[in-house]
Amino acid sequence: MRAVVIAAVLAFVLVAVPSLVSVYWVKVATAAAIFSIVALGLNLLFGRVGMVSLGQIALLALGSWVAARLFFATGLPFPLVLLLGGLITGVLGTLIGLPALRLGGLYLALITLMLAGAISIVLTHVDFPNGGGGFLGHTEATVEYPDVRRPSIAEADDAYFRYTVVVTVVMFLLGLAYVSSKTGRAWAAIRESEPAALAAGVNITVYKLWAFALASFMTGVAGGLLAANEGKLYAEQFPTIDSITLLAVVLMGGIFSLWGAVAAGLLGKLLPALLDDWGVSPDFVIILFGIGILQVVVTAPGGLVDQVPKDLRRLGRLLARPLRRGESPPEQSA
């Protein structure tokens, strides 16, 4: 039953959404889908293994850079570039996270925060590939830069949205496969207690590294999708503060369910666009995310996907109470 509902919603999103809304909102929806992949990486890291990375947006920038370089340098098919971009980002992310992975969770968060700052410094100066030569692939010479190319079957915004959603679904299925496998159980053991996991024969370092590599891979794939969605890339698109707002929306969405990552994608990209449309300053979105973090850590660790159904059920019971009272026969209620 659940699978049928999910399939129906997915079919609706794929078929109806692009034809119902304007090009602007299709672009926003594409960005939200891409963002949910990035959120999925962090969701797995934090929710499954108990590790926090504050450098995911910097990794996204790295993934975009690698993918853009590959797109301009090679004629490889689009999916292959996504895959390669993901793998390269996975390796780079793992290498960078390696020193901190051996220490406690707090150290990983701090090292990745510093990494985010460092990567944004490098990218500001080397800039993104724009069809130029050399290793960096950047040129100031031309006036008209070519866009990062999209897959031939999905060059229009509508088609690219559908393409992105399909890749997003594949990434979520990959995440689901991991969570329900032996790896997922090892991660859960590490999250609950590292010494206990170690005693049970779980190789902590390898499984942690694997989680970090997987999250980096997903972020790299998202980077490739983002590069083709934007066409042109600038360092200003990846500010360090975004890594923190990403953590905020991932927490607000809920870290103990993969659906939380879907909610995070919507919160991170759709909500600001909607509020902007209604004339609300983007500064308030940041304040809202800050309040969201505090609310989640203090009162609602399961986030929206856990809290909303609970609250709805409570509301339903509250509403149903007077109805039941009205229906019940008088001799029973007496």
Binding site: P99, L103, M114, S193, G290, V298
Partner: protein, 303 residues
Amino acid sequence: MLPTFDDFKPFVITGLSLGGVYAMSGVGIVVLYRATGVLNLAFGAIGAMGALISWTLINHTSTPDWVAYLACVAFGGLVTLGYGLIFGPPLARRDPLVKAVGTLGLALILLGLMSWLWPPFGRTMLLPTADWGFDVDVVRVNVTQIIGFGFGVVLTVLVGAFLRYTKLGTAMRALANDREITATLGVPVRRVEAAAWLGSGLIAGAAGLLLSNLVALDAVTLTFLVISSLAAALIARLQSLLVTLVAGLVVGLATALLTPVLLWPSTEYSLSVFRGMAPFVIATVALLWLARRRTVSISRSGD
């Protein structure tokens, strides 16, 4: 091609003064972490907002300058204390990671408020101490720089002595060791924690004021300058004040001394554009060194 020693001279001064402020922030971070287990990632944002308030008081009201400076320091203390009183107790038993994530919420709220109330625009904070100074050889040294370096050193010594010799300091060290046992011994845990929050907040305000003069008065820049102080605190494993001081000075010096170094001969790129990466590189190398022998422990501090 390495520059001569003369090229480095001005940057030694800049580096030591910045390093002093990094060390001072690092000490503020370490003291709070040791007493409460909270790594305050909003440290930079608090100082930044204090500095902006101070700027507004100086430029848009007739408040005497010294009151405005005090307002910055007091703001740091009050906001940090307020956060500690509200969110400290419910998070007291949680993992240090969760506590640190909570402070990111505060950082976002402050960043949003700052961007709303003070839209990005070239503001400058000129402390009067920046005009007073003297020449050493060919290099001009101003009093803000001396205060930056001096504060770092003096504060480390004072805080170290405070923790070692006073009753409150002993209580803080006891808290750092074991919160439950300390409470059982009759130490007023909440009050001691509040003192740590207040003290750390006052340091955040003072550091924000100094950095707004030494670096720039910009919300995002000041917020993420906390990274340099974090590097110092990390190298000290969030424990040793002396190591924090030395590491802060090294990070400040390394960052500044990279300025005149060219990336390679005959290039217009100098390493200075990448000097902001120094804290990350230094902290990573230090962590690699520290992590060479790893032990798994089930201590309650979660360190």
